[in-house]
């Protein structure tokens, strides 16, 4: 038994009710601690569905999803929240919250329904804020934060869960270069120093290639390639999956993609 193996998908297939085709077909993925895996692929290629399968939110029609060797569906949401911290793509702000209270929500799975917050919960919140360079934001209202600050706070909330794995769904979708780089550097540092496992869904092929140990490239719900960035991100594969001509140049020993210009028909 591989006790470093945190998230494991083995040949999973899934189709949403009433859908014409499978959202995910026969995909396998293993994520260990101290490892960062990027999920790449065009819109609608099944990345988010794959994460839902990995986290037991959907049940595969075929194949198996396991977390720490136990079927994903058998974990309660509470147990899972102590193990995996997720930064979802979208969330709502129905009622105004201050940053510290928002991060405290990450402690939910470690609190009993009747007791108050313990000193260790407050300590975990402060630690998570510090790890995300968000201590100065603690007393601000969430609604007053910039996009980059907001993502830092959401990452802090996931860290307050004290998880063994982080899952980020398009965490830099609306960030500028500096905040985007900061976020990837931060996640990479957590993986290296704290030995967290990280799964990042992103459209940033080049950043995935530079920060991830492995990439899984999806197209139409199928795994087109999986392995080191250099092995997967070849010109032929990238052009076929994203249906656009590109050049691939090495930089820092990692493949970097440059989309080429092409007149529209």
């Amino acid at each position: 038994m591989d006790d470093r193996l945190i998230l494991a998908l083995a040949g999973v297939t899934f189709r949403y009710p009433d859908a014409a085709r499978d959202a995910v077909t026969d995909v396998s993925l293993a994520v260990r601690d101290g490892e960062c895996v990027a999920l790449l692929g065009p819109n609608g290629s099944g990345k988010t569905t794959l994460l839902r399968l990995a986290l037991g939110l959907l049940r595969p029609a075929q194949g198996e999803a396991a977390i720490l060797g136990r079927a994903a569906a058998l974990w309660s949401r509470r147990e899972l929240a102590r193990l995996v911290g997720v930064v979802p793509q979208r969330e709502e702000t129905s009622f105004p919250l201050r940053v510290r209270d928002a991060v405290l929500l990450g402690r939910y799975a470690r609190l009993s329904p009747w007791s108050g917050e313990r000193p260790e919960d407050r300590a975990a919140v402060e630690r998570a804020l510090a790890q995300c360079d968000a201590t100065d934001l603690a007393d601000r209202w969430l609604t007053t934060l910039s996009g980059g600050e907001f993502q830092r706070v959401r990452l802090a909330r996931a860290l307050a869960q004290e998880p063994r794995a982080l899952v980020l769904d398009e965490p830099t979708a609306s960030l500028d270069v500096r905040h985007e780089m900061e976020l990837f550097e931060r996640v990479r540092a957590l993986v290296d120093r704290e030995r967290l496992a990280a799964v990042v869904i992103t459209h940033q092929v080049n950043l995935a290639a530079r920060f991830a140990d492995r990439v899984l490239l999806l197209a139409d719900g199928r795994a087109v390639g999986q392995g080191t960035p250099a092995a997967v991100l070849t010109r032929e594969t990238v052009e076929r999956v994203f249906r656009w001509p590109v050049a691939i140049e090495p930089f820092d020993d990692r493949p970097q993609m440059i989309p080429l210009r092409q007149p529209l028909p």
Partner: protein, 313 residues
Amino acid sequence: MKWLALIALALASLVCAVMLGPSHVPTAELFSSPIVRDLRLPRALLAFLVGGALGTAGASLQALVRNPLADPYLLGLSGGAGLGAVAAIALHLAGPWALPLAAFAGALGAMGLVYRLGLVGGAELDPRVLILAGVAVGAFAAAVTTALVSLSDATELRNAFLWLWGGLSGASWDTVRVMAIYTPLPLAVLYAAARPLDLLALGDEPARHLGADVERVKRRVYVAASLLTAAAVAVSGVIGFVGLIVPHVMRTLWGHHHRTLLPAAFLGGGTLLALADTLARTAIAPRELPVGIVTALVGVPVFTLLLRRWTTA
């Protein structure tokens, strides 16, 4: 400090409700007067329990449907209760409990129907579908109610309508006892769901990621809040605005943590309704205003103020 003030206010509202009334009772005779013992005290306690139930139900439903404008009647319960009450009168059901029981049954019927409709298209209670279902069921029940009224010539129907506007004149130690036994369970269910309600504000999937069993929380909150509201309607008619205004004021004072918000909404709702009922009894004594009119007359200006604060903030 805030808590002390709120508790003091709650006690003061009860004292007010017991001391003031259309007939003068000297302070020395407060404890011996049958007016206080048999009329004012049970009525004050009932007002407090009903107001507390409405405040808590309103705060919980706002979190459930992620809409700060939700109130306990949003989900069609008032329409169902009204239909039940009017049907009981049209059918000449007799007995002191006929009207409250029929209203309670009507509210539960509406709750079941809205709940069933809320599950359409999946296993989850979608807030948007719930609100639409609530409005639809409420409108349907109101139409049937009006049809019943227009077909019947019973003079009691005027009373039914007045009763529907809310009133605590039916208060007795029996109704207080029933409410005191009935309300603790749904209240406890809502308090137990306070933390997951905080998470629900983020949306279903983010709440799941943080460890909330979203479906179960939603079902429990929906059923518990509806049961509280149905009981409140059954003993006192449709008292508007308490379940909307009180949670709002408490949200501005206590923030959005439901562990503190729900108890604050209970005390605040109880206080407001005890005071409003005192006003309803004394303002045009010896006649009474329906208490729902008092809460609306107080509630609407407060609500517009809140609305202005929001839009400027």
